[in-house]
Symmetry: C2
Subunit: 223 residues, 2 copies
DNA sequence: GTCTATACAATGATAGAC
DNA sequence: GTCTATCATTGTATAGAC
């Protein structure tokens, strides 16, 4: 963790201009997230990035070890934030109702992302979507090793669907996550083309309702 | 298209050893598909590839224009083959029965990929899965511009579900394609972890049945 | 501890000889 | 059609200033 070495330096930071306010480490973080989200990981070179952030070329390696390390740091922070929101919503649903409906549980899984799209965290969500599909082996390792937040969803779903075995619940959650992660620009572009412009993701409420209709039905079939 | 310049050259080809049988262009194609499927596009350098194929470094650029052009050429050929199999199966289903069930239509969409996994085209399918997620902007452009084969599925599904508007049919096909394309090694690794080893894609028949259960239910809900 | 300037090996691409 | 030599660009490593 970077610590401020002297009081004088901290004071200098406070009195500096607004855009230069954040430290080098954080400026790299913000600019990288923005550029990666917009252009993709591979299409942003270290020279592009450090120039845009107004820092030296070597600063990324100093603060994050490597370009991959930077990607990983951004991914960790944002993924943790999103998973925490999901966990909070799930807790609200399960503690109020002893046996919540499948649809309510799935809503806790889906709605945080739709919230982010609507506020200033849109860039962070775009970054996460890209990192999920373009990320390197380390990103993928996190994606499938860090499943603790998903286990809570499996538990809740199994309580809601006692007729299904735990194995079937996990299979259907696997399919449901596929639907939720199918959010790249290319996916929606094909949707628009295939529907001759009739289907767009702009209608957030309609999209959420359709997602819940489809995934709930898939989950509850035969149970 | 590369043409043989002299009869003598063609004769020399026929008499050559089996592994050196294919022309330079095709040898590059085969070795590239194999290496890209196994290691990913970015992790195979032009020097790795040309060394493995036993051709000169500059041969890829001569025959395919660029590394991206080579990726694109492989993708085009394999995607066309897969879509053709899907179209043939769909035609068999629709011409035999005036009003086929949704499940039968979706089976025509899903089963070609499961066939490829079981025979020597496994590498080609692995390549397609990788290209879909790791591919560049040109790959994505093909993915969402070339939707003619999907339109036939929309038509068939709408006939099977007259209560749904065409718009809703396209939305649900969009979700269904998400489930079908959620096939990367990382996806299955997470599934295995989350289920403590209980869920694996090894049981092809079971996987196909689960896919059809889930997607059919999502398609037919409310109709 | 932080930041800078600079050098380095590896990559995809290309020109021109044969 | 094929090959050699060479190019600009990439991510990374390091020595040294402050």
């Amino acid at each position: 963790m970077a610590t401020r070495s002297t009081p004088a330096k901290a004071a200098a930071k406070i009195s500096s201009a607004a855009e230069n306010e954040a430290g080098t480490r954080e400026r790299i973080f913000r600019e990288a997230e923005r550029l990666f989200a917009r252009n993709g990981f591979d299409r942003v070179s270290m020279r592009d990035l450090t120039l845009a952030a107004g820092v030296n070329l070597a600063a990324v390696n100093y603060h994050y070890g490597s370009k991959d390390g930077l990607l990983l740091a951004i991914f960790r922070r944002r993924a943790t934030e999103l998973n925490r929101e999901r966990a909070q919503l799930l807790q609200q649903v399960t503690e109020g109702d002893a046996q919540p409906a499948v649809r309510a549980i799935l809503a806790a899984l889906i709605t945080p992302a739709t919230r982010w799209i609507s506020d200033e965290r849109r860039i962070s969500l775009q970054f996460l979507i890209r990192a999920r599909s373009e990320g390197n082996a380390e990103i993928r390792a996190i994606l499938y090793h860090d499943v603790s937040h998903l286990r809570r969803f499996v538990d809740a779903l199994q309580r809601a669907l006692p007729a299904l075995s735990r194995r079937e619940v996990v299979w259907r959650l696997h399919f449901t996550l596929a639907v939720l992660h199918h959010n790249s620009a290319a996916d929606y572009e094909r949707l628009r083309t295939l529907s001759d412009g009739a289907c767009t993701p702009d209608d957030r409420e309609g999209l959420l309702a359709r997602l819940l209709d489809y995934t709930s039905a898939g989950f509850c079939t035969g149970a």
